[in-house]
């Protein structure tokens, strides 16, 4: 292990720019510190902005389904539930597909296929979210209402999840659009992670007679597990905060519906819709408190995922 302190102790006076290293170090530290400060400042401002609402509702804000701007009664449950459900649908659809696509691109596809497909996926990841929203509203929602939702309610209609009129817009459509949005994102990061698996390790597996599937599962994915969990976390972060695509297709209804065909709302869509016209101080404060809740949900998800990864690694023998 190189002793970092020894190498940076004395600036080399023969070097034409001896102030280079200390300057670089302080600039980099300042940039990193700035972002820590910024996070703290955002948290502080969110708490200050929601003080009215925090004082009036207290913790019951989190489990109340009311949302009445006229009487001043607000509750976050429908928004929180909507955020979590739409994100869960998106992750459930996107993560397995992303893994399979990344494996295909890295392990199975010839370069003539993997290069253009990879480029196309990265292009999809750069498409603005409002385009997805508009496409979802004008193209995808009719597809859902005419074909997919009637199919689901015919075959799985006994489940309360798939009951209700097939409007085309709703929680299921929003979840699928979100999945389509985060899929290219997760795929491109997973592909980069899988490409970094040393060929030596894979060839050792092949040398012992493993099939392609066995090497992919036991060697490649295991090696890149931490990076892939990081890719999923990035996708999750994007799905939780996604605003415009969801606002167009989720139906914007402040109720928790039993069915996936029902309309709902997410925290981000509620903020996008209502923030501009919220003149009443309590209304504004309730919306800021929604933002604070989203901020804390994102932190919680990150913390949980990191803890889970650490536990995985410890059981796999690393970090000892």
């Amino acid at each position: 292990m190189t002793d970092r302190r020894a190498t940076r102790a004395a600036p080399d006076r023969r070097h034409p720019r001896p102030w280079g290293d200390p300057l670089f170090r302080s600039l980099a530290a300042a940039a990193a510190g700035f972002f820590l400060l910024l996070t703290g400042a955002i948290l502080l401002e969110l708490t200050r902005g929601s003080s009215l609402s925090l004082a009036k509702f207290g913790p019951s804000f989190l489990w109340s389904t009311a949302w009445n701007p006229v009487t001043g009664d607000f509750g976050a449950l429908s928004s929180i539930a909507g955020t979590l459900i739409s994100t869960a649908i998106a992750m459930a659809l996107a993560v397995p597909l992303s893994l399979v696509i990344a494996l295909f691109l890295v392990e199975l596809a010839p370069p003539a296929v993997s290069k253009p497909v990879g480029a196309a996926i990265e292009l999809l990841a750069a498409v603005p979210s409002i385009i997805y929203g508009m496409w979802g509203l004008f193209v995808f929602a009719p597809l859902m209402s005419d074909h997919v939702q009637p199919f689901l309610s015919d075959h799985l209609g006994f489940l309360p999840l798939f009951q209700g009129p097939p409007m085309g817009i709703g929680m299921l459509t929003a979840g699928i659009i979100l999945a389509l949005m985060i899929l290219p994102f997760i795929t491109s990061v997973m592909r980069d992670v899988l490409r970094m698996v040393p060929p030596v390790v894979k060839e050792a597996g092949y040398g012992m007679g493993s099939t392609v599937w066995e090497v992919a599962r036991q060697v490649t994915v295991r090696y890149g597990a931490r990076g892939m969990a990081g890719a999923c976390l990035l996708g999750l972060g994007r799905a939780v905060g996604e605003t415009m695509a969801v606002t167009f297709v989720i139906g914007n209804n402040h109720r928790v519906g039993a069915s996936l065909f029902d309309a709902g709302n997410t925290i981000a869509s509620a903020l996008a819709n209502e923030f501009a016209e919220a003149a009443d101080p309590l209304y504004l404060s309730a919306l800021v408190e929604l933002g604070l809740v989203l901020f804390l949900i994102t932190f919680a998800i990150q913390g949980l995922t990191h803890a889970w990864i650490r536990r995985l690694e410890r059981s796999a023998g690393r970090g000892l």
């Binding site: 006229v70 606002t247 167009f248 309309a263 501009a276």
Partner: protein
């Protein structure tokens, strides 16, 4: 001091660096000059902010006025709430709002308001076999539908009003606005007036706790949802209903007649209104008397400060509005808006003479 082969002497820059530096400096200078030029030009324009509903018309008027007089107007359609906030903060010359302020609010903020243009909110439906203007609804029934009480299109209450019509046995999907808006304010104001159940349960506001249905973002969102969902009923501004060729309904007004939403029925609603008796010109045109009145009519208001800091700028602003009243009727009709009746225009101009001052002297003569 000799340099090692393959390296540059200490302190030297690569040969392309000096050209790059020159190009960057030149680009920076051009940008600064351009920014300064834009800044100088923008300072002379009149500014306004507020409701999205009249934006297309205000933009058209501003364009025509600039061609005529060279005075520009910059209008930002950030919503009624934003417009009110900006004029109170004195960052713009005028604010625009679909929901009028009460006299108390006006006096507290030192503002004067006047109606500029009239529009209507039109309930639209998507039902197979029902042509535009075929379905009749009463006020109580519309409120009941939006309360979630009436769930199917072939409900006896609807069938009773529409004896000759073949109503399908479809679920009613209520579509409302997801975002806060002046259009919602006008619509809920109407429902609040005509339905005690609505008044008790929901009330009037730019954003309310809708008992049923899905929310679309903006007039465009509601129009899109109504077009896509069979059995949907929604409410949009008149211009959107026309441009998207949506199926409008006939609504029963206060006089008991079923009227269609047209420029004539909006004007009828405005004509019956008594503006001179309204304190601060706070008058909501919903549920107005008159045989031909459209029940969900609303005016879009302009807010200016009572005490103007710059007399010349204020005169210029009022000249613009006077021109809009006098010459802007054709443009308004072309864009499916309804211009204010002449007697109201006279009332508004006399209000400018008496109430809008700068350092004690009236700004407009």
């Amino acid at each position: 001091m000799s340099t090692a082969p393959g390296t540059m002497p200490a302190g030297a820059q690569p040969p392309w660096r000096s050209t790059l530096n020159k190009k960057m400096a030149g680009l920076l200078m051009c940008l600064t000059v351009a920014a300064a030029a834009v800044g100088v030009a923008a300072a002379a324009d009149l500014t306004g902010a507020g409701a999205t509903f009249p934006y297309p018309l205000y933009a058209q008027w501003a364009d025509s006025y600039k061609k005529l007089t060279g005075v520009g107007l910059n209008y930002q359609s950030i919503g009624s709430g934003g417009g009110i906030a900006q004029i109170k903060a004195q960052t713009v010359d005028f604010g625009a709002s679909d929901a009028p302020l009460t006299k108390a609010d006006l006096d507290a903020a030192g503002l004067v308001q006047f109606p500029m243009i009239i529009g209507g909110v039109v309930p639209v439906v998507n039902l197979e076999g029902i042509a535009p203007g075929a379905l009749k609804l009463s006020a109580a029934l519309l409120a009941d539908i939006y309360l979630g009480g009436v769930k199917k299109w072939n409900d006896p209450a609807i069938a009773a009003l529409n004896p000759g019509l073949a109503l399908p046995a479809r679920d009613i999907t209520v579509v409302h606005r997801a975002d806060g808006s002046g259009t919602t304010w006008i619509f809920t104001n109407y429902l609040d007036k005509v339905s005690p159940a609505w008044h008790g349960k929901v009330g009037c506001g730019k954003e309310v706790a809708w008992p049923a249905g899905v929310g679309g973002k903006g007039n465009e969102g509601v129009a899109a949802y109504v077009q896509r969902i069979k059995g949907a009923v929604g409410y949009v501004e008149y211009a959107y209903a026309l441009q998207n060729e949506l199926t409008h309904i006939l609504l029963e007004n206060r006089a008991g007649k079923f009227v269609a939403p047209t420029q004539a029925s909006f004007q009828a609603a405005a004509a019956g209104a008594d503006w001179s008796a309204a304190p601060g010109l706070y008058l909501v045109l919903t549920d107005q008397p008159g045989d031909g009145s459209w029940p969900i009519t609303g005016a879009s208001f302009v807010l200016i400060h009572r005490e103007q800091r710059d007399a010349a700028r204020a005169t210029s602003l009022l000249d613009f509005f006077a021109w809009c009243f006098a010459e802007g009727d054709a443009a308004a009709s072309n864009l499916d808006y309804v211009p204010m009746p002449d007697d109201v225009v006279a009332l508004v101009e006399s209000l400018w003479r008496t109430d809008v001052k700068s350092a004690g002297a009236a700004v407009w003569k």
